[in-house]
Structures are given as structure tokens and as C-alpha cells.
């Protein structure tokens, strides 16, 4: 057995050396504006864009009346400027494809009761049906905090998580590869165009939530309860032509979860007066006109529920 353990150790050593050598070459050599590693697999995302800027702009020592978090629905659906206009400071930590697996680690490493008076968690079934790879790929390249990046990469339980981390550390000294012209201060992304022509809305697919994502949503709620960060779960508006039955199934699961953890849940999915063509820029994202109308309805509701509040003077 001793011989076997030594052999295993030697194999691990030689594999580690070969791995580092290969990754060094693939991360350092660039071709066509991207490191070679990006040419070897479709899951690598380039450093840069919305996520890159927001995590460098976010100040953990500032106080935010509300922090938005979640998938692209979050960073394209909640405009901090609109909240600021009503007197509430806000920041948007939503990122592309972000599900609870990633949210949990961001919350743990970035938020506390001193910098977050309310955490608005946008819950979208599309993000919770994914395994978290897309978001982890984006965040491991763009997060400032190493702990969050390491934790979410390992939470994938997939060798791709290790590769993403290696790319992060081997390209740390490299600046962003691209910029996002739609980015606005406060972590928001603005789109003013609208759906043109008829879109194909997929309906009739069963809801298949990723069990890990559901587990991480519960862990996020538990963590916030323990840490003393107030949470509200929100579903932002969906187009009328989207899959209502699927959302109803999701809504039932979420309603049950919200009751169990005693957190308010606001479902705006089909509780709105928006138009599929005028207020959305694709089959499920709001454009600025839609965001303005949605946020105008959301803010008073949060205020009325006493969720947006200033500490006693």
C-alpha cells in the first residue's frame, strides 16, 4: 500500500507539472485578441464587460439601501439611478446567468448588514435550471475577491471549475479584453432598443430546476437570516407570450420556500401592464422603457412594505 501511495503522489506531481506547463502556454500566448486557452473550449469567457466593471466599482464600505442580485434579469431590470432619484442608494450585483450557486458566494464575501440594508434577490427559473457554469466562468474572470471565485469554482464539482480558476490566476495581471458600452454606474446595463418583429417564445417545456441551485438558494436565505441581512425575493416582469405554466410551477416552489424562510416574495412576472414589443428588447429582458415602468411600480411597493427604510436618526 505504501508503494501505491508513493506512486499516486508521483503521478499527481507529474500531472500537476504538466498541467501548469500546458496552462501557462495556453494562457500566455494570445491569438486574435484572446489567450489560446479560449480557443480550446467553449466555456471560457473573456475577462471584461459589465461584471469586470461592477466588482471594481462596488465599495464594501459604502452603505446601500438596496443591493440587487441575480441573473441578467437583475442587472438589466433594476436601475440604481431610478432608486437614487427616489432617495434610495442602490447597487446592482447581478451578472450574466447568475444563479443561487454564484449568488451565495458573492453574498458571503461581499455583503453584510453594514453595507446592505436590503438584498433584492431576483429569482429567475431560467438561471436556476442551469448548472452554474456560465456564470462561474464569467465571475471567476471578473471578481476582485479571490475567496468568492475559488468557492464558486469548487462548488461546480467539475474539472472545468479548476481550469477556470487556473486561468484566473494565470491572467490576473492582464487587463480586460473588452468593454461594455451599455454599462452604467451602479452596476446597471441599459438597453433602449425594442423587440422587432415576432419572436419565437418557447412554451411547454417542463420546469427542471437544478437541485444544487435550489440548495444554494436555501443556503443564501439561511446565511442572510444568520447574518441579519433583510431579503426580498422578486420576479421581474415576463412577456405575456412566455411560458406561464412553467412559471406557475416555479412560483409554487418559490412561494413555499419564501414561507419557510419567512422572506417576502413579489412576483411581477405577469403582474404588470408592459407590452411584449415595446418594453422588452428580447424574449425575456426588459428595455429601459420597461425598466422605468417596472421600477416605478416596484419602489412604492417596497416602501409600502417597509422594506426600504433608513436607519433611525
Amino acid at each position: 500500500m505504501r508503494r501505491f501511495l508513493i506512486a499516486t503522489l508521483l503521478l499527481a506531481l507529474s500531472a500537476g507539472m504538466a498541467y501548469i506547463a500546458a496552462m501557462l502556454v495556453l494562457c500566455r500566448l494570445e491569438l486574435g485578441g484572446a489567450a489560446l486557452i479560449h480557443r480550446t473550449g467553449d466555456y471560457y469567457k473573456l475577462k471584461g464587460g459589465n461584471s469586470y466593471r461592477k466588482f471594481r466599482e462596488f465599495r464594501a464600505d459604502s452603505v446601500h439601501d438596496v443591493v440587487f442580485i441575480g441573473s441578467s434579469h437583475a442587472y438589466r431590470g433594476y436601475d440604481p439611478a431610478l432608486f437614487t432619484r427616489r432617495g434610495w442608494s442602490a447597487f446592482n450585483l447581478g451578472t450574466s446567468g447568475q444563479g443561487p450557486l454564484n449568488t451565495y458566494h458573492i453574498v458571503r464575501t461581499h455583503l453584510n448588514p453594514s453595507n446592505t440594508r436590503l438584498l433584492l434577490l431576483d429569482v429567475y427559473e431560467g438561471a436556476m435550471e442551469q448548472d452554474g457554469l456560465e456564470s462561474t466562468s464569467d465571475l471567476t474572470q471578473n471578481l476582485v475577491d479571490d475567496r468568492a471565485a475559488v468557492a464558486m469554482a469548487l462548488a461546480l464539482k467539475d474539472p472545468r471549475g479548476v481550469n477556470l480558476l487556473t486561468v484566473r490566476f494565470l491572467t490576473k495581471d492582464r487587463g480586460p479584453f473588452f468593454a461594455d458600452s451599455t454599462y452604467r454606474p451602479g452596476g446597471y446595463s441599459v438597453r433602449t432598443d425594442s423587440v422587432r418583429g415576432r419572436l419565437h417564445y418557447v412554451r411547454g417545456r417542463p420546469l427542471k430546476l437544478n437541485a444544487d441551485q435550489v440548495g444554494y438558494l436555501e443556503r443564501t436565505l439561511e446565511h442572510c437570516a444568520d447574518a441579519g441581512i433583510p431579503v426580498v425575493l422578486v420576479n421581474h416582469p415576463y412577456p405575456w407570450q412566455s411560458d406561464r405554466e412553467k412559471h406557475a410551477a416555479f412560483n409554487a416552489m418559490l412561494g413555499d420556500l419564501a414561507r419557510r424562510y419567512r422572506v417576502p416574495y413579489l412576483d411581477f412576472a405577469y403582474k404588470h401592464t408592459l407590452d411584449d414589443e415595446d418594453h422588452f428588447y428580447d424574449h425575456n429582458h426588459l428595455n429601459q422603457a420597461g425598466v422605468e415602468r417596472f421600477n416605478a411600480a416596484l419602489i412604492p411597493e417596497l416602501e409600502a412594505m417597509g422594506l426600504l427604510h433608513r436607519p433611525a436618526q
Binding site: 500500500m1 508503494r3 501505491f4 506512486a7 508521483l10 503521478l11 506531481l13 507529474s14 500531472a15 500537476g16 507539472m17 504538466a18 498541467y19 500546458a22 496552462m23 495556453l26 491569438l31 489560446l36 479560449h38 480557443r39 480550446t40 473550449g41 467553449d42 464539482k157 467539475d158 474539472p159 472545468r160 479548476v162 481550469n163
Partner: protein, 482 residues
């Protein structure tokens, strides 16, 4: 449970192997049987009942066959065959037959709507049915004693490394080994793990990467010209080899770690110089099964020539049908049958051509040319195996004959998948073709790298390649569906 899953690599395999060596010999069969049930039930749990039925029928049949003579003996064998093939026919071929009958009747102007029973094909059904059948046939022939311990017989049918995609074992090899006392043997364990690593490399780095291009083109082959379809078909030839032989290497390696020697199932088949040689190197456990239990009982080649040809054609049509309940698989088998008949019928002509060209004085060149021709015949045959319909298969084959539309869809394919990803796949595929004979010999223990540092460097590089270049997700093995 997939071999290429976190649960298998880091939980199931280490735990089962450790427990196997820690337990006294008399309890090991129970451990392996329990583990095999767990392994199988990770797919669709209820289908274990089908396995239980097969095991029960063949266990009892084995005892009855051994205990009887004459017609009764034959009757019990027939009962076993009918029960096994009945299960296979119902779960695998019912929908196919029903739809074929419907198509036939509709063509004749008669109204008939096929009934969808919503049957899901149990994973690996064709494999364990054939393995179980080989037991009753061998008992009938008097080559194998009937197994009296039901647990041990169940383990023979369910031994997890080869349960869902072979090799299709024979009782003379596996059943007898289940009784052996296996002790921890460092060299053997290391060798088994090395073979598993080679299998993972083939599956993750080659097969699943090739699949990205292949799936894209074969999803709509009529949209592509010859360049794209030819690339996809070459890559499919490599994908199916690396997928299936990769699985086999993992299976053989996992069994070897515990002290079991399973049948060799592949011997670098794309180095074959003829179709008959190809079939002695490709899926050996299936081709030898058909040889021993169908081809030879039919008379093999010891009959008049036309019967010999019919025997060959029948065996290959059945082999095609074994793979899948679709006419395209049958056609694939038929193509190989015709290749073989053609090779026999034209043997004299071939000899004259070889002498005319003077190739008989250059045997190595002669063989190299034969290998190239054989590989291309096999590659062309794979079109029927991979295409979803005959229309798709003809579109692929037809695209190779249309130079005017040769590059149709190629730029779109490269753009959609990413030039880097397509190029990486092609480079890895070409590199693998050169590496395979060497890597295969190392994995089978037929060759050894001299010097420990070089050995560690090689296997370390393989492991690193799996991590860096592996295509992860949860890609099934192609042969699980059979």
C-alpha cells in the same frame, strides 16, 4: 452511473475497490453484486427488474439444461432463448416493428396507426441479454457447469464494469474468475488504473470533442457540402472508436484493479488491412459471439458458396439490428456483409491486380494501401450508422460527389463552433491517430515505457490533458443506448 462522472471517479470506484480488498473473500461477491445493482439503478431504477427476470430465467434454465438430456435439454435452451430474446424484442424492437409495419401498410394504402407504448430502452439491454444467453448456450453445449449459487450467477450477468456496454463476457472467462481469491497486487492495480486513464483520455479528450463537430453536421447534413460532411464522418469514425474503446478500457482497467481479466474488445481496428481483419479487431466480444452462436451453427464457410454468402450477410444484418432498432443500423450491417462477400468474390481479381502492379514485391506498401482502402470503406459505412435517416445518409454520401457544392456550410460550421475549437479538435484527432497504437499497447500492458521518470511523465501528461482539454458535461457513452 457514468464512468465519466464525479460520482463514479471519486466516490463509487474508490469506495467499492477499497471495500473489495478490505472484505474477506467470502463476502466479496455480495459487495460486488450490491455495488453493481447500485451502479445500474443510477440510470432508471425500475429496469433492474428486467435484469432480475433475465437472471432468474437463465439461472433456472442453466440448472434444468444440465439436469436433462435429449429433447428436454434442447427445450429448456429454447425456452431460455425465447425468454431473453422476447424481453429484448419487446423493449428494443417493439416500436421499430410497429412503425415498420405501419409504414408498409400505409404504402399499400391501408390505414394503420402505430401504438406508442412509451417504452424506454433499458440501458445496456443488448449487452447483458447476450451475456446471459451465452451462459445457457455454453451449459447446453457442455462447456460450462451450471452455476448453483444464484448470487454468483447474478454477479456474472451484472458485474458492474461491463454491465452496460460490455465486453460481452463468456462464462468460461468471467464466471470462473468470480471464485478466485484476488489479493492486492501493486503492479496489477497500477496497470488497471493506467488503462482506465487511457480510456478516460480517449473518451474525454478525443471522442467528446469530435462529437461537437459531428453532432453539429449530422443534425442537418443536407445543409452541408462534402468538406463538412467528410470532416464530420472522419471525426465520427474516431469518435465512435474512442467512445466505445475508451469505455472498454475503463471497464477492463476497473476490473483489473480488483484482479479480474475481462475480454479484450479492441485491437487498433483502424490498422486493419481488410474488412474481415477489421471485425477481428473491432468489438471482438460481439463479433465472436455472433461467430460462435450464429455463424458457425448456420454452417459458417463449410457450405456451398451461395450459402456461405447468405450466412455472412445474415450475421451482419443481425449485428446491425443488434446495434439499434432502425433500418439505418441494419443497412450498416448489410454494407459490411456486402464488403466481406465482395472481398471473397473478388479475391482472385485482387491477387492479379497486386501482381500486375508489382505490389507483391513490396508487402509493406501493399498492406499500407490495403489499410487505407479498408479504413475508407469502414468510414463510408459509418455514415449509415450515424445518420438519423436514409435521406440524411444519402445526403452525406451524395455531398462527396458534388465538387461544385464542396464548401457549402463549412464557413458557417467553423464560425458557429469557433475556428479554434474546430482546429483543436482536428489537431487532436490527427495526433491521436498516430499515438493510438503506442498508447493502446501501453494500456494493455503489451508495451512498457523504460524508465520511471518517463513513465510518470507520460501518464502525468495524459491526466493533465484530460483536465485541460477534456470535454466535460455529462456526455453518455454511445454504446449505452444498445
Amino acid at each position: 452511473m457514468l464512468f465519466n462522472s464525479f460520482a463514479f471517479c471519486f466516490v463509487f470506484f474508490p469506495l467499492v475497490t477499497a471495500a473489495y480488498f478490505l472484505l474477506p473473500h467470502r463476502y466479496r461477491w455480495a459487495l460486488l453484486l450490491g455495488a453493481s445493482c447500485w451502479f445500474y439503478m443510477a440510470f432508471v431504477p425500475v429496469y433492474i427488474l428486467i435484469l432480475a427476470f433475465t437472471i432468474l430465467v437463465d439461472y433456472v434454465a442453466g440448472l434444468l439444461i444440465e439436469g436433462s438430456t435429449g429433447r428436454r435439454r434442447k427445450a429448456w435452451l429454447v425456452a431460455s432463448i425465447v425468454a431473453n430474446l422476447g424481453v429484448l424484442a419487446f423493449f428494443k424492437y417493439y416500436a421499430f416493428l410497429d412503425q415498420s409495419i405501419a409504414a408498409l401498410l400505409q404504402a399499400a394504402g391501408l390505414a394503420y396507426a402505430p401504438t406508442d407504448l412509451g417504452i424506454l430502452l433499458p440501458i445496456g439491454l443488448s449487452f447483458h441479454t447476450f451475456q446471459s444467453l451465452s451462459y445457457t448456450i455454453e451449459v447446453y453445449r457442455g462447456h460450462q457447469k451450471a452455476e448453483r449459487r444464484p448470487g454468483l450467477f447474478a454477479l456474472y450477468v451484472m458485474f458492474y464494469p461491463q454491465l452496460v456496454a460490455g465486453p460481452i463476457e463468456r462464462p468460461g472467462n468471467l464466471l470462473n474468475q468470480l471464485d478466485h481469491v484476488h489479493r492486492w497486487d501493486h503492479a496489477r492495480v497500477v496497470h488497471g488504473l493506467q488503462q482506465m486513464l487511457w480510456g478516460f483520455f480517449k473518451k474525454l479528450v478525443i471522442a467528446d470533442r469530435c462529437a461537437v463537430v459531428v453532432d453539429h453536421v449530422y443534425a442537418d447534413p443536407q445543409a452541408f457540402g462534402g468538406a463538412a460532411t467528410l470532416l464530420a464522418t472522419y471525426l465520427f469514425a474516431l469518435q465512435i472508436y474512442c467512445d466505445f474503446s475508451g469505455y472498454t478500457d475503463i471497464a477492463l482497467g476497473a476490473a483489473r484493479v480488483m484482479g479480474f481479466d475481462l475480454m479484450v474488445n479492441f485491437r487498433t481496428p483502424y490498422r486493419s488491412a481488410s474488412i474481415s481483419e477489421f471485425w477481428s479487431r473491432w468489438h471482438i466480444s460481439l463479433s465472436s459471439w455472433f461467430r460462435d452462436y450464429v455463424y458457425i451453427p448456420l454452417g459458417g464457410n463449410r457450405v456451398v458458396r451461395w450459402r456461405w454468402y447468405m450466412n455472412l450477410l445474415l450475421v451482419f444484418l443481425l449485428s446491425g439490428l443488434w446495434h439499434g432498432a432502425s433500418w439505418t443500423y441494419v443497412a450498416w450491417g448489410g454494407v459490411h456483409g456486402l464488403y466481406l462477400i465482395g472481398a471473397i468474390a473478388l479475391a482472385g481479381v485482387r491477387g492479379r491486380v497486386v501482381r500486375f502492379l508489382g505490389l507483391h514485391r513490396h508487402p509493406r506498401l501493399d498492406r499500407a494501401l490495403d489499410v487505407i482502402i479498408t479504413v475508407h470503406l469502414v468510414v463510408a459505412g459509418w455514415v449509415f450508422f450515424r445518420a438519423a435517416t436514409f435521406a440524411d445518409a444519402w445526403a452525406v454520401l451524395g455531398s462527396w460527389l458534388r465538387p461544385d457544392a464542396w464548401w457549402t456550410g463549412f464557413a458557417g460550421l467553423v464560425h458557429e463552433l469557433g475556428a479554434g475549437i474546430v482546429l483543436t479538435t482536428v489537431v487532436l484527432a490527427v495526433g491521436f491517430v498516430g499515438l493510438d497504437p503506442w498508447g493502446d499497447a501501453l494500456a494493455k500492458g503489451e508495451r512498457r515505457i523504460a524508465g520511471r521518470p518517463l513513465r510518470y511523465a507520460w501518464f502525468g501528461a495524459l491526466l493533465a490533458a484530460c483536465l485541460v482539454l477534456g470535454q466535460y458535461g455529462s456526455a453518455m457513452f454511445i454504446y449505452f443506448q444498445f
